[in-house]
Each structure stands twice: as structure tokens, then as C-alpha cells.
Amino acid sequence: MLGWLDTILQGLMLGGLYALFATGLSLTFGVMRLVNIAHGDFSILAAYIALVVVQWLGWSPFLALLLVVPLMAVVGYVVQTTLLNQTLGPDILPPLLVTFGLSIVLQNGLMEGFSADSRGLSIGALQTASIPLGGGVAVGVFPIITFATAVIVLGAMSWLFHSTTLGRALRATSDDQTTAQLMGIDNRHLYGIAMAISMAVVAIAGVFLAIRTTFDPSVGPARLLYAFEAVIIGGLGSLWGTLAGGMVLGVAQTVGFSLSPAWGIAAGHLAFLLVLILRPNGLFPKTRDA
């Protein structure tokens, strides 16, 4: 019984990490109908940048975020405005293919630069610290930090979308990008901002992933799949639904792992497919973030 509680708790916390991965994907899709196949690979890029910062400057990974997050935001803005904006249009193929190409370039580029060796980021004692909840159940400190970060990020995004001029402009652009121009909104710039935010959040996800487990250039695509599953399970268009989706996925995976390590990830995929069959619109669908 307690074992189960422990497992489920771990899964819920893992959901926070998955929500961080999923948020950026959901944002760019909502604002400009763009699915970035290289989404996961960008998070790994961020992890490697953090690795470099940690190795050269001796900073802790958390401090490294101060450099990595703004840098990735800039990368996102540049990639969007120079490469991706021109692919946007009624045809879904160009953005898919360009981002797929980017994914391949990123993976192999990182491989050339850093080799295929597994790396990790360490936060010292915090990595394995845990808080006992009584009755033999304990929850890790770092997973709590991750979950709390996810909640804070989602809260910040929600605030951005509903209480700021920029957020209003993003929502208007996602509704009707032609009429948005009549308001003086420059689409191209705004899409760049959306991608910048997406990359900033995925950078946090990448660094936290690197602390939680080991990583190498090839693990990007799996993050994309988990992010996507979290979005679909949660329901398109809903920010907090993505957190719920992440938690469902996280629990499915951890429960699966505890039953049979070889089937852990598969359990997540199965949960996703189950939701697809039973509730194709997700658990908390919203067509708009209203």
C-alpha cells in the first residue's frame, strides 16, 4: 500500500517536469499552429549549455539557469524569425520538415561536439535529499522543487496571458492573425516572442532533466513524445490541463516502472492511447484559454 503511495507521489512530481516540457509545445501550437519537432532537442541543447557553464564557471546548475534561460530565449526568437516564420501558412508540411531537419542537426551536432557519453548535472546533497511524510513514505526534495517550479511557471504564463498587454496580443494573434495586424500587432515579432518563451521554459525543463537523470544527445525526441502526450492527455488549449496531463503521464510511467521496469515507458504510451480512445479531446479540453 505504502509502496503504491510512494510510486504515485513520484509520478505526480514527475508530472511537474513533463508539464514544463509540454508548456512550450502547447504555447507555440496555440499561438501559431506550429509543432516544433526539435522541441525536445532544444531542451537537451539547454542541458549541454548548462553543463558548459557549470564546468567553466563552476556555478551550480540552478545559478546556470540565469544564463541558460535568457540565452535559449534569444535562440528561440532568432530561429523563429529567421527560419520558421517563413514556413508558416496553410500547409503543415514545411514547418514540420524544417523542425525535423533542425532536430537531426541538433542531435548530431551535439554528438559531434560532446560525444555520445552520458552526462549529468549535480546539485550536491539536494539531489538525493528527501522529506519523510510519515509512515515510511518520503518525497524527494528535488522532485518537489521541480513540481513547484512547474506550478510557478504555469502561473506566470497564465498571468502573462490574462493580465498583460503582450498576453492579450498573443491571444488575439492566435485567434485571428490578420485582424491582429489591424491592431498594430506585428505577427512576425510576436511569433518570435512566443517561441522565445517556449524555449525559455523548455530550457528550464532540460536543466531539471539533466539534474534528475543522465542525458546524451539522443534523448531529445523522447522528451518531445512525452510533452506531446501530456498535452493531448490534458486537453488542447488548457494551460493547467497540461499539468494534469503531465501528472497522469507521470503516474502511468512510475506505476508501470514499479510493475516491470522494461514496460515503464510503454505504460505511459498506453495511457496516452487509452485517453485518445476514450476522451479524444483530452481530460480538460478548452478550445480557448478564456
Binding site: F29, R33, L34, V35, I37, L83, Q86, T87, I92, L93, P94, P95, L96, L97, V98, F100, G101, L102, S103, I104, V105, Q107, N108, G109, M111, E112, P221, L224, L225, F228, E229, I232, A262, W263, I265, A266, H269, L270, F272, L273, L276, I277, P280
Partner: protein, 333 residues
């Protein structure tokens, strides 16, 4: 008086038929005059050609971008493994069996993934492929995660025969794929494909069932990929889940199609040649060849979205595989 004539071939395409016949003859006689390496490369090329045509059928003509066709390549490879390990059937029967198995699997998978649209459909197919990879990696009777060798099934077959059979199967699949796509598009069905891709509501209003068209294309494409998967197993004699279900298969398919020219029949043909040439010549640079391939794909999508063939065909109005209908007005007395 003006008479309107519908042309379904071009002069160049009629001459090209002769060239194709010669090329096919040359191809099939290779076991008798070509080196082992050359036969191997040609077999690989024909397999890639088949895959590219199947992906193009789905994406270029059906508007369905799948990132998960590797599910069927892997499935087909494992059908070959099962046939080989069972020992009851001739191992070459695995090819058509793989096609059937893949089509059946595709029918079931469509039920799930057709609930998703656009790019999310693409990723959904990828998830299914990943699930299949895990399933096969956990099936120890089929070799589990480290894979299995099927050399035993070829005990009585000599090396020359193996190479020749692989080549002929690859030729059937590769050239057959081209012929199939060509025939499909020239048929009245072919018009339906284009209509659905261009505008589903409009096509539906004319009585074309978009869902049926998409399902048909998905089944055909999957069957084709499955058969290539079986060919893979037969040629390499070794199958492992990580290589059989690798997303690299989709990468190969989409590179060939995009660089060559999506939505045409000549495009994937050209693209397969370019891909293989690039791979052979850049192989020595390891991971760089993939980086270059990725950059090429990005550049082509940005500068020539209709691919290399698109550029050539537009400049010189060439059609080697004409499937459209052109109307000309001719004066008659």
C-alpha cells in the same frame, strides 16, 4: 471550329518508356554482370525508393504527414523473423505476409491516430512506433532488446542466390511502388486523392469520403513499408528493435521525398538517388553526413519547397510520369 483534346501523356514520357524498359532489364540482370557491392547498393537504393514512394503517397498526395512509418518497417522485419524462426514456410514468403500484416495493423492503428490532426497526427504515429519497439524489445522469443539473427533460415540458399533474390525483390518493391503510385494517380481515384488533399470539405461535398481516401492511402503506404521491412531482414540477416523501429527510417523517407520533390513521382526517385549518393560519399565523416542532410532539407524547404524535381520540371516542363490531364484547343476545319 475549336476542338478540345485531353492529353494524358507527353512526348518525352512516351520516349521515356523505352528507357525505363532498358533500365529495368539492366537492373534485373545485374546478378550476372555486377559486383557484390554494386548489387548491394542497388538493392538498398530500390528499397529506399519504395519507402520514399510510400511516404510520398501518404504525405504528398494524401496530405498525411506520418513520422511513424517505421512502425511498419519494423513490423515487416519481425514478420520475416517469425517466418524464419518457425521454419515452416519459405522465408521469402515473409515479404507478402509482411505487407498483409502491416495493412491489418495499419487498419487498427488508424482507428487511434486518425483522431489527431496535422502535426499531432505525425507525432501520434511516432508514439505508436515507439510502443511497438518496446513491445518487441521485451519479447525474448524474438531476440528481445539485442535482436536476433535469421541466418539459419537461409541454410540451403547460396550467397549468389541470396543477393539475386534480394535484388529482385527490391526491384519489384521499388519499381512496383512507382508503378502503383503512377497507376493510382492516373485512375479516377487519383483525382479523389488530390481533391482531399487540397480541400476536405470541398471534396466531401462532391461525394468523396475523405476518411476512406486517407485510410486507403494509409493502408497502402503501410503495407509497402512492411514489405520493405521484410526485405531488410532478409538482406541483413539480423533484426534488432532499435534499428528496425528507428525514426531514422522516417528521416530517410522524408529527406528523399523533400529534397527530390514532394507530390510528384519523379521527385522521390531523384531524392532517393541523391540521398544514397550523399550517404555513400559522406559516410566517412560519421555524424556530419546527417547534419549536412538536415541542413539540406531545411534549405530545400525554404528555397525550393517543391524540391529539386520541382525546380527542373517547372523550368523545362518535363513530365516523365504524367498523371495529370492537359487540355489543348485545336482548330479543326
Amino acid at each position: 471550329m475549336i476542338q478540345y483534346v485531353v492529353h494524358r501523356t507527353t512526348r518525352l514520357s512516351r520516349y521515356a518508356v523505352v528507357l525505363w524498359a532498358l533500365a529495368i532489364a539492366g537492373l534485373c540482370t545485374m546478378p550476372w554482370w555486377a559486383s557484390r557491392a554494386q548489387i548491394g547498393t542497388t538493392t538498398t537504393f530500390l528499397g529506399i525508393l519504395a519507402l520514399a514512394q510510400m511516404w510520398n503517397l501518404l504525405a504528398g498526395f494524401g496530405g498525411l504527414v506520418s513520422i511513424g512509418q517505421q512502425a511498419f518497417v519494423g513490423l515487416g522485419a519481425y514478420v520475416a523473423v517469425i517466418v524464419a524462426l518457425q521454419g515452416g514456410l519459405n522465408v521469402y514468403a515473409a515479404v507478402p505476409l509482411a505487407g498483409i500484416a502491416s495493412a491489418v495493423a495499419a487498419w487498427g492503428i488508424a482507428f487511434l491516430v486518425f483522431r489527431l490532426r496535422g502535426a499531432y497526427f505525425g507525432i501520434g504515429t511516432w508514439v505508436v512506433a515507439e510502443l511497438l519497439r518496446i513491445v518487441f524489445a521485451n519479447t525474448s522469443s524474438l531476440g528481445g532488446g539485442s535482436g536476433v539473427s535469421i541466418t539459419s533460415a537461409f541454410a540451403g540458399i547460396g550467397r549468389w542466390q541470396r543477393d539475386a533474390f534480394s535484388l529482385w525483390i527490391a526491384a519489384t518493391l521499388g519499381l512496383g511502388a512507382v508503378a502503383l503510385v503512377f497507376a493510382l494517380l492516373r485512375s479516377p481515384r487519383g483525382l479523389a486523392f488530390g481533391a482531399v488533399r487540397d480541400s476536405e470539405p470541398a471534396a466531401e461535398s462532391l461525394g468523396v469520403s475523405a476518411r476512406r481516401v486517407k485510410l486507403t492511402l494509409y493502408l497502402i503506404s503501410s503495407a509497402g513499408c512492411g514489405m520493405v521491412g521484410a526485405l531488410l531482414a532478409i538482406s541483413n540477416l539480423r533484426v534488432s528493435p532499435d534499428s528496425a523501429f528507428s525514426v531514422d527510417w522516417t528521416a530517410i523517407m522524408f529527406f528523399s521525398v523533400v529534397i527530390g520533390g514532394i507530390g510528384t513521382i519523379e521527385g522521390p526517385l531523384l531524392g532517393s538517388i541523391i540521398y544514397l549518393t550523399l550517404r555513400q560519399s559522406l559516410a566517412q565523416f560519421g555524424g556530419w553526413y546527417l547534419i549536412i542532410l538536415g541542413v539540406c532539407a531545411v534549405l530545400v524547404m525554404r528555397t525550393a519547397p517543391r524540391g529539386l524535381w520541382g525546380v527542373l520540371a517547372d523550368r523545362w516542363d518535363i513530365r516523365l510520369f504524367p498523371y495529370d490531364r492537359r487540355v489543348s484547343a485545336e482548330e479543326t476545319k
